[in-house]
């Protein structure tokens, strides 16, 4: 009985000691790796420190909608030297799509006056209507006055796509135009108030020395 109890106690102690050693080894290795800053040793992190710009792939290629991310143009391919040539820019369409988000619908659309159909990205809402109005040329003079909501939105954004087709993004709300509108309204109100005040209190005319 005594030997059985002793062996059981020994097993428990050895198991505990093994856990402690393993734990210490883990923390020491992790701390060491952090201190050294190297790529070797330690454990791979669950989330990589470098996040690729490519969005995470869906779990399945089937279902959902096709992503409109265009392939990188050939000009993006790096040459042998950093000197000479022209600076390669990130594709504009990708930049816009990054800021706008994923469109609800992207469909080619023939636009009056355009030789090739435009790829129109729809995000829903009021700006879609504005975009269609601008594309079809169905705007009115009121759109350019602060009395119409369209005044407070920018024009649709036209981005040349990688395959030569023009991509169109809807207008966005412009705070600059909002301030412009407020300034115009303020000016109108000021002029009206000034007119009525002058009419109400205008007891003198230019003939008087008291004008």
């Amino acid at each position: 009985m005594k030997t059985t109890a002793q062996s059981s106690l020994l097993k428990r102690w050895s198991l505990t000691a093994l856990c402690v050693v393993l734990g210490l080894a883990f923390f020491m290795t992790e701390a060491d790796a952090q201190r050294r800053g190297g790529s070797f040793g330690g454990f791979r992190r669950s989330s990589p420190s470098y996040a690729p710009s490519r969005p995470a792939a869906p779990s399945s290629s089937f279902g959902g909608s096709r992503s409109m991310t265009s392939p990188a143009p050939s000009s993006m391919q790096r040459s042998g030297s950093s000197f000479g040539g022209s600076r390669a820019m990130a594709p504009a369409a990708a930049n816009y799509q990054r800021s706008y988000g994923i469109p609800r619908q992207s469909a080619p659309m023939s636009v009056p006056g355009a030789s090739s159909p435009y790829m129109v990205h729809s995000y829903g809402g009021y700006t879609d209507g504005l975009m269609m109005g601008y594309l079809m040329g169905r705007t009115s003079a009121m759109w350019y006055t602060p009395f119409h909501p369209a005044f407070y939105y920018s024009r649709p954004t036209y981005v040349p796509g990688a395959n030569g087709a023009m991509e169109v993004y809807p207008p966005t709300f412009s705070f600059f135009r909002l301030f412009m509108g407020l300034a115009i309204f303020g000016l109108i109100i000021w002029l009206v108030v000034r007119f009525f005040r002058r009419r109400a209190g205008g007891s003198t005319d230019s003939q008087s020395s008291f004008a």
């Binding site: 109100i189 000021w190 005040r197 209190g201 007891s203 003198t204 003939q207 020395s209 008291f210 004008a211």
Partner: protein, 160 residues
Amino acid sequence: MRELSIESNGSLEKTAVYINGEQIGGIHQMMLHINEDGDFDTIFVYEGTDKQMYTKNLFADYLDNIKKVPPTFTEEEAEFLRLLTVTSDGNLENTLVYINEEPQDGIVDLLVQIQRGSPAQRGGITSMFKKAEPGESPVFRAEIQYRNEDDSVSTESVFG
């Protein structure tokens, strides 16, 4: 000696003030109170050419940056107006009063108070959302008191 002339029909709209023959503009307030007892109050408040407000003694002070304007009344218009002229150096003994260029005598008291009204409020757009404060109403008062030969005193309107 300074010569002050006021040409008017009794209303503020048809009132021109001349100093030494030149018409003056930008006047806000004018007060003449001269009597035989020695009161000699001549207050002149005007906006100068530099947009500053000045308050001066009309016959004693130099009128800084006073705004001179071209004559506004034609001769035809002037026929329907009366002209009060006061020449003085600030002393009662050297003060002469003319009405339509006729010298006056036996004056007991001369009171001329002309003040243009000020708008109720001036505060830009924000003033629309505030309760309007009452402004100053225009004042036009011009009276002259004479002592008659029977020692009675009669009061007349200067531009009446």
